[in-house]
Subunit: 361 residues, 2 copies
């Protein structure tokens, strides 16, 4: 039975990518060697990682002066690493708290220096994105999470945050783990973007970092691995990189380009999200969990108004091959993650059973 | 043509492991989902990581009181992380310098506190393992690299280092990246062992850590990801782990167990190494690069006495499907890495062309 994979991450990848990756595990491009057993210094892999970096720059339209890195440790290591690299000594980090991941980033910054939460939606269980954000004291960098995978909220406009950072002569840092490559963005607004790969980039095990090179202070006292400059100097090959994850990321980037790049991807994602939100709003049994204006295009959170119907709905999901629809354990309800590789067909299948449930209830 | 993969890492993996991994990229155990697109919190993956941890404990005969972790960032991040977690404030790290990787570990320790090199073979280009090691000042931990992938030397006895650490009431830390799982070891001698996966454990992207739990000081000020206690508490699932690398590591561990565990593996590795070293010593054209007593069972470094024969020999290697035999760029010559998955047949093929070259020269 075809599975409709709504998992929040690690998550669905394009079928042609999986097919090519499966072949390469046995034999990479007729070399007689597996992608898993070639040296990262071999010409075959150097070509792959260079292609992954070039495709990232091309697809995201990254301007000159930025470097693309493939690291390890996930966004969780970036919470610390970003603050470590960007904060000046005794610098102040300004953070926007929009949920679990922001909170974790704040915790790491607090270990390094002065940290201020300048806006938060905690008072309403993170159901909205704070607006009209300002700060009454200066700061050196501003950090936010563009899409909140757990709660299902998303920043739809970066320009005001960029303005706020600029007015403070501060750097703008964004954790884009769950919406990078889902739509066009203006990279130039940012000084540092990081993202765990396991949503729209590729499988778990790689972390994408896009960093404006001239913002880094050359500080030889930083731990070598945790210094962005190390990885810039070595073109992401300071040590053995996560070879397979980068290979599959390269295949996924190629797939995005073939599909028409982020314009095509964004339009496809918008259609999926609009279709599903429309049904949630129309169907008397379901409700969305967050403010309508702040709804995420990637992670659609909703619930059954009558919890007694959950067992029935869960069984219907299972019988239809729908997987990964459970809400995060801290929120409950449902969460349909609509990452790039998910076809609109899967959304239609989900809507169909939502409508069936309405009919029989 | 069959390839004989002597690569130093990422390196050869067992064919049944590659076959199973290739299948799982398309469909993990008839779930209809790829190993690359399932949640790390799904029962399917929780079973995999638990099995990987249990097999590691079983195969290495790890006593109670130790935890097995699968992290990211490679040994290069462990250089810093081990010193950060183990050193007391103002503590002293004693290091044995046996080459490139030791040197890198020393560099990270120096960023954290007092660091002493108590023995080094740098004076002879790392061609031997220092003996009769002692320290004239106390230290808190002793760090060494068990096998030097680049130079081809290996510690064959851990007992004296363990004694030295004990006499100083110090912890013993070992970077075992390139010889873990190649032979039986007594884990009880160590407080901390770490190893990048990409030799005998599995593909690049995972880092194995074996840590004695009671040596850790609960220090909430450590960066969360860099604190071993974080990963112990969360059973290596603090954040999204490198799912595929851990899956393939689990398959490789199963393969080791099926083969008869480390007794069988060690005997196979010893035979391969002895056979190749015998030929190097016998063949008038070749010489080994390191002290005979300190030769590595994993990475056999040698050279042609007459450099003019290199082009000829390289062509013969290529024509026979031998790959990855070049010495590290800092050493030159040749390096045959004989990791677990390499069959003795490949060693015989190599020896055959060494003998052919001798005949025609």
């Amino acid at each position: 039975m075809k599975q409709h994979n709504f998992s929040a991450g690690p998550s669905i990848l394009p079928i042609p990518v999986l097919q090519k990756a499966s072949e390469a595990v046995l034999d990479l491009n007729q070399t007689g060697l597996s992608i898993l057993e070639i040296s990262h210094r071999s010409p075959n892999f150097v070509k792959i990682i260079n292609e992954a970096r070039a495709l990232t720059k091309e697809i995201l339209n990254i301007p000159e002066g930025y470097e693309v890195l493939f690291l390890q440790g996930g966004a969780s290591l970036q919470f610390y690493m970003s603050a470590l690299n960007i904060s000046k000594l005794n610098g102040t980090g300004a953070y926007i708290d929009t949920g679990t991941w922001s909170t974790k980033a704040i915790k790491e910054s607090e270990k390094l220096g002065d940290t201020t939460i300048i806006a938060s939606s905690k008072n309403q269980a993170y159901k909205y994105i704070p607006k009209n954000i300002s700060s009454n004291k200066p700061f050196d960098y501003l950090h936010f999470t563009s899409n909140n995978t757990i709660y299902g909220t998303q920043f739809h406009d970066f320009s005001k945050l960029s303005e706020l950072a600029n007015n403070n002569n501060a750097k703008l840092i964004c954790d884009m783990s769950s919406d990078i490559l889902s739509k066009k963005i203006d990279v130039e607004l940012f000084d540092l973007i990081y993202a765990g790969a396991q949503k729209n980039i590729g499988p778990a095990g790689a972390t994408l970092v896009i960093v404006k090179k001239n913002i880094l202070q050359k500080n030889p006292n930083l731990p070598t691995y945790l210094n962005y400059q190390t990885h810039i100097d070595k073109e992401s090959m300071f040590n053995t990189p996560p070879v397979f994850s980068i290979y599959v990321a390269m295949l996924t980037l190629k797939w995005i380009k073939r599909l028409g790049g982020l314009t095509a991807i964004e339009s496809k994602n918008r259609e999926k999200a609009t279709t599903l939100y429309n049904e949630i709003d129309r169907n008397s049994l379901f409700s969305g969990l967050v403010e309508v204006t702040d709804r995420s295009m990637m992670n659609v959170t909703f619930k059954l108004n009558n919890e007694n119907l959950e067992t029935k709905f869960n069984t219907m999901c299972q019988d239809t091959g729908i997987s990964g629809l459970n809400g995060h354990r801290s929120v409950g309800g449902y969460r349909a993650s609509l990452y790039n590789a998910l076809d609109i067909e899967s959304v239609h299948v989900l809507i169909k059973i939502m409508q069936q449930l309405e009919k029989i209830s």
